[in-house]
Amino acid sequence: MASTVEIALPLPVLPGGWAGEKDFKPVGQLSAATDRNIEPVGPHFLAYARRKRHQRTFSEDERIQAQSNVKKVEEEDPDDVDEPEDPVMLQREAKDWKSQDHYAVLGIARLRHRATEDQIKKAHRRKVLKHHPDKKAAAGGDEGDQFFKCIQKATDVLTDPVRRRQFDSVDEGAEVEPPTKKETQKGNFYKLWGKVFEAEGRFSNHQPVPKLGNAKSSKEDVENFYNFWYNFDSWRTFEYLDEDVPDDNENRDQKRHVERKNQAARRKKKTEDTARLRKLVDDALALDERIKLFRQQENAHKNKRRLDKEAEQKRLAEEAAKKKEEDAKLQAEKEATEKAQKADSKKAKEAAKNAAKKNKRVVRGAVKDANYFHAGGDAPASQIDSALNDTDLIIAKIDHEELAALTSKLGNEKDAGKIKQIFKDEAERLIAAGKLAQADVKSLA
């Protein structure tokens, strides 16, 4: 890669007496270099960058590059395989070219519509080298050049893009029969139908064709797939199957008749093909487990919503019932306690009443014991009357508890003075409390 400088001026003659170790004598050193930025542009820079980044020297890099280049050349022709030739095919007559399988004739039946133009050319060359009539004649075989003509015909058809499409349209070798229902039920739906759709996809004007996918494909992909196939845009034509149009100029009517017939046949076949494809897709759709699965999922989804709703309602109803029950229970309890309380209070009241009665009796008894607060001898009737009145007044003025207290104070007091004192105290207390007037209790004065 380094350019060579040609210098026309001659080199000097070695002076006598010059000597150096191995004829070389270093004398000086290069002066200091300046650092500059080189422009990262161009093939030579790329080579430089490669050397620098991989730390290679010039010669190393050259060697490595050369190696990688060699590899590329070798890898270029991996499909140089010779397909076995069917002996029946070799016996073909060139005039029956329309019915021959052009791909098989050229030995590229494995590639078919996928074969590139380059591959076809190469295959043709290979076959020509093998089947050239001159070679056969030299080998002493029969001099039939029929198969050679077949090869030429096949190349003619396949190298012309229009005619190649016509042939591809009716190429039976590339067709894949749709599997029967029974076959698909064995669980290899995707494998079998995938092949069918792949083969049908070669007619599509829109490439790439979506793949059938597998059981895990998303709903969107599956829908896309079927939408694509229901709106399939095919370039398939049936011109290849046309009846030969008579080539002579004599019978124009006949010619037109055949042409019309061909046109009609093409149209019919195209319609049939469209219908066939439609049915094919219908079949596949019917057998596709994923569609069922998606429907189920959708239903499940819908059902789930409904069930959720119902469950919610049920739960609410249950809750309401429970609440009602609890309320009733609480009510009943309350009533029971109230009843008990009522009964209790009645009893207590009774008891209190009885106690009060008893107390009153004691108090009155005490008054009597105190000789009606009369100081000596039998109390006159008026004294008795006023004392009893006063006592009644006091009793009426005080409540049960005070009465009880009073009773307990009186206790078994027999001493009249003391009893009188107690009554006096009581009366004073009541007077102080403002419940009794001084004038009311004259007997205690």
């Binding site: 380094a2 350019s3 070695l14 290069l30 002066s31 200091a32 650092d35 500059r36 161009g42 620098k52």
Partner: protein
């Protein structure tokens, strides 16, 4: 569309985005760069966008809107990208939408929708729209979705500007593979031509553009380019050439229609003048006369005139001279002599003008090749130079991972030591005083380098001495012997004028080599009659020299290593 495309899916183009014009190019299967024409058939697409009732016009269509719809037409915005408002020069936009400040950056206020209100669009968005249109044109032309590009930028484009351009390109769905400098792209365009010789040379790329002139002095060494010096001038430009013509025609108009007024004082008339003058300028690059014709230039007066090339050359003389001066200055800045320059590549639209090439020609010796359409029939269209270079670079790197490209363009890789002196052999005599130095590796060659030279030997063969030495270039100025001697005595106090006029023809400038320090000596013994000696020199980045000497066709040979100054090794 993802900007980070898979390298295998990448469709890359070269894109040159200039202030006035942009262009797009791709590389054909045979490695030839082809410039793509847009829908209007333009290869040079004006960098302009115009909005009419919400409809976006681009390129030539937008440019013609400068007359009627100047306020909604954005043009000459490239240099605003990534700059803050303070540092931009809005003068080229005088006749289109004016730049306004938005934050720190630059924006344009235009009515870009059907609604009757002004929107402020930052210059980055404008660039994105412009690049989107370019990308669409390229995609339509190629029939493939273009998603990557190599974009050319001036040498003084800052990192911020590159970053802004990069994000604008990403917005337009273009992955920027690399930014390359316009002058290097131009050289690459020439060097990538089939059959181009990769000699060691110093090239000047002189770009006379619409709004600015850029000069770069580049050392090209075996296909590796090093920029030695650059010059930028915003005064010497195609605009100024237009202005010269505008003034001329305006004066002509005034002469004929005095009462109507000066067309330069009316915006619309000025826009019309400007567009027509640009067309006239282009026409004068091809023909020797051109018609100037504008309908209703001012006050409903139609104006037609003709101009011939000589007149134009005279009118623009000052600018042409300034341009030549600029080129010479750049060479001086690189510390070189005009004699060192082996090629001058004229780029930019205005380099079509024959006088530009002639003016530059006159400033340089005959050894310098001027590559312009008027001086060399094989010259590439100067307007297309950068974009072609970019397209070639795009085809070279489009299969690389972005990371790979980044690593390769990193300073670690690109900064290299360059030889400060030439290295060569001494011929004829081993003695330094009488030997003739002949360079094998030129100065400013990036290291490491490998060069091979074949040298003839004395006629009778025998033993020879190969002496490697450093040499520095020297300009020998000889005055013709006879006349100047006499003149010198006489003219010492005489008039200066005589000296001036005779100076150029009298002086004889020659490029010679001065032998510097000797590096090594080697002997090759017993060479056959008429044999040749091959010398291969490998200079490493550490300045060590590995030399191999052998007779061509002979066996064995001598090998020697001169160790370098380790301390100086920069890498």
């Amino acid at each position: 569309m993802s900007a980070q495309a898979d390298p295998a899916q990448r469709v890359a183009i070269g894109l040159s985005f200039g202030n006035s014009y942009s262009s797009i190019a791709y590389t054909t299967g045979e490695g030839k760069a082809e410039v793509i024409a847009n829908e209007d058939g333009d290869r040079q697409i004006p960098s302009a966008l115009s909005y009419v009732e919400g409809e976006e016009l681009h390129g030539g269509q937008a440019k013609s809107q400068l007359v009627r719809n100047a306020g909604n037409t954005v043009a000459y915005f490239r240099d605003f990208l990534g700059q803050d408002f303070k540092s931009v020069d809005p003068s080229p936009c005088h006749q289109s939408a004016h730049p306004t400040q938005q934050g720190d950056g630059v924006a344009f206020s235009i009515r870009d929708t059907e609604e009757d209100k002004e929107n402020t669009i930052p210059v980055g968005d404008i660039t994105t729209r412009h690049l989107t249109r370019l990308r669409t044109s390229a995609s339509d032309y190629l029939g493939k979705n273009v998603n990557a590009a190599v974009i050319t930028v001036p040498t003084n484009f800052s990192e911020a500007q590159k970053e802004a351009l990069k994000s604008a390109a990403q917005g337009a769905g273009l992955e920027v593979l690399q930014f390359i400098h316009e002058p290097t792209a131009a050289i690459l365009a020439y060097d990538a031509r089939p059959g181009a010789q990769l000699a060691d040379k110093v090239v000047v790329v002189a770009d006379l553009g619409g709004t600015r002139s850029d000069i770069a002095v580049v050392a090209s060494r075996g296909g590796i380019y090093t920029i030695l010096a650059t010059m930028h001038d915003y005064d010497v430009s195609g605009f100024k050439l237009d202005q010269v013509l505008i003034d001329y025609f305006a004066k002509e108009f005034l002469k004929k229609h005095k009462s109507v007024g000066d067309p330069r004082e009316n915006d619309r008339a000025m826009a019309k003048l400007k567009l027509e003058c640009e067309a006239v300028k282009k026409a004068l690059s091809i023909g020797t006369t051109a018609n100037f014709s504008v309908e209703s230039l001012l006050g409903g007066v139609d104006f037609t005139a003709t101009i011939n090339r000589t007149r134009y050359d005279l009118l623009g003389n000052k600018l042409f001279a300034a341009f030549t001066r600029l080129v010479t200055h750049a060479v001086e800045k690189a510390q070189l002599d005009p004699l060192d320059i082996s090629e001058i590549i004229l780029a930019g639209g205005n380099s079509h003008t024959p006088k530009v090439a002639a003016a530059v020609r006159s400033g340089f010796p005959d050894t310098t090749t001027i590559l312009a359409p008027s001086t060399s029939p094989t010259a590439i269209n100067p307007s297309e130079l950068p974009v072609r270079g970019a397209a070639i670079q795009a085809s070279l790197i489009q299969e690389f991972e972005l990371e790979d490209i980044e690593q390769s363009t990193h300073p670690v890789v690109t900064v290299t030591p360059h030889l400060s002196n030439a290295v060569g052999v001494l011929c004829i005599s081993g003695d330094e005083s009488s030997g003739v130095f002949h360079p094998i590796v030129d100065a400013e060659t990036s290291l490491p380098v490998r060069r091979t030279a074949t040298i003839t030997t004395p006629r009778e063969g025998g033993d020879v001495l190969v002496k490697l030495a450093e040499g520095s270039r020297h300009i020998k100025i000889t005055k013709p012997e006879a006349r100047p001697k006499k003149q010198d005595d006489r003219t010492e106090d005489d008039s200066d004028s005589e000296e001036d006029e005779s100076e150029e023809e009298d002086e004889l400038r020659e490029k010679t080599w001065k032998v510097g320090n000797t590096l090594s000596e080697a002997a090759i013994r017993g060479i056959k009659k008429g044999g040749k000696v091959e010398v291969q020199i490998n200079i490493g980045a550490d300045l060590s020299v590995n030399a191999i000497y052998r007779e061509v066709g002979g066996k064995g040979g001598v090998r020697g290593i001169i160790s370098g100054q380790k301390a100086n090794g920069s890498t």
